[in-house]
Symmetry: C2
Subunit: 234 residues, 2 copies
Amino acid sequence: MKGKLTGVGLGPGDPELMTMKAHRLISGAQVIAYPALEDGESFARSIAAKSIPAAARELVIHIPMTIERAPAQAAYDQGAADIARHLDAGRDVLVLCEGDPFFYGSFMYLFARLAADYETEIIPGVSSVTACAAVAKRPLTARNEVLTIIPGPLENAAMQARIEAAGAVAIMKVGRHLGRIRALLTDMGLAASATFVARASLPSQQVLPLVRAPDPAPYFSMILITKAEDPWLN
Amino acid sequence: MKGKLTGVGLGPGDPELMTMKAHRLISGAQVIAYPALEDGESFARSIAAKSIPAAARELVIHIPMTIERAPAQAAYDQGAADIARHLDAGRDVLVLCEGDPFFYGSFMYLFARLAADYETEIIPGVSSVTACAAVAKRPLTARNEVLTIIPGPLENAAMQARIEAAGAVAIMKVGRHLGRIRALLTDMGLAASATFVARASLPSQQVLPLVRAPDPAPYFSMILITKAEDPWLN
């Protein structure tokens, strides 16, 4: 009998923003896998730390921070193989995922490699988009408005076209792209009303008008833009 | 000393997908407010039911299901006034919100009426978008892909333009618009690969290829479209 693979969303960073289901599953876990940077630091593990039982086996998946395709694919191949050994031995494996497992994250690459051969379950989590809106006290989107979520590394022409077509915009993973994006939004007349949020829900959280955001910004940072005022608000 | 207004996201429907913070706050609540249909049914209350203490006062906000502006605005005015009476008397008020408070929902209209005069906090919740992706076992979006979230009532020309500009698409609140949207996606060559999800995470959940989805669909239903295959998946 093979084990089951479960991707567990942990939310934006505050451990109390984990779902009750995530907490229950992690508290009873046999094997826990999580991505880590090359220095071993794992944001996902830090969110779940207090829920992880002492007896759980831990499997670290080192994800190279590179824009090249081959090293990352090799890391996912290796991580999937390590997980598969536990699943083949009948042990369930939980993969810890910051935010939501299927919303910009490394879990989906493991899922793609394993889902055909093993039972799987995905536990959704609070995404950073709604967490940023919450701490900024800035409603995201209402009624028939379109919300567009754009990764910060997207180049200017494509980003501008997507923003022009949207009602409300969240730009994710701003990081070192902050200066370029702020200049673009300034040219588009949208910078003055935009909000910058870094590390939402963590003690180091920052909420600032975009014009005062630090450059470069932290990797986990976001810009929120509302283009149209919702007439129902009044 | 005035009370505090807190908007609490409850997630997509499974009570175990509430955050630990939502459960803690609701368990200790003095006054709980929630939207309900005219017949009194409240999806939000049903999600939180087991966490609500017997001693909590409950305040029902009746939201007319109408596309006219005036009756809904009057309902939010009345709801905000009812909440304000408790806040003025020094009692904290929790507003229960299905999904996330700032992501398509009635809470933001109460927030707009009260935030200038009272202390506020927003507790983000798991949104239906990631919950639908989870139960469909369909990754939403990765790397530099743009995700566009479109309300189902949006008319065809605008919807088509938004879908053409997107990498991945979630169409929310499909309901009685299913037939029209399915015909549009068929014309665009996107219907065959689209997934339909209704009432994600509830016992009555449905996950179907869009071509087999019921018409009309339940109000809480969604269509997921992935336009480009992520090359990193392999």
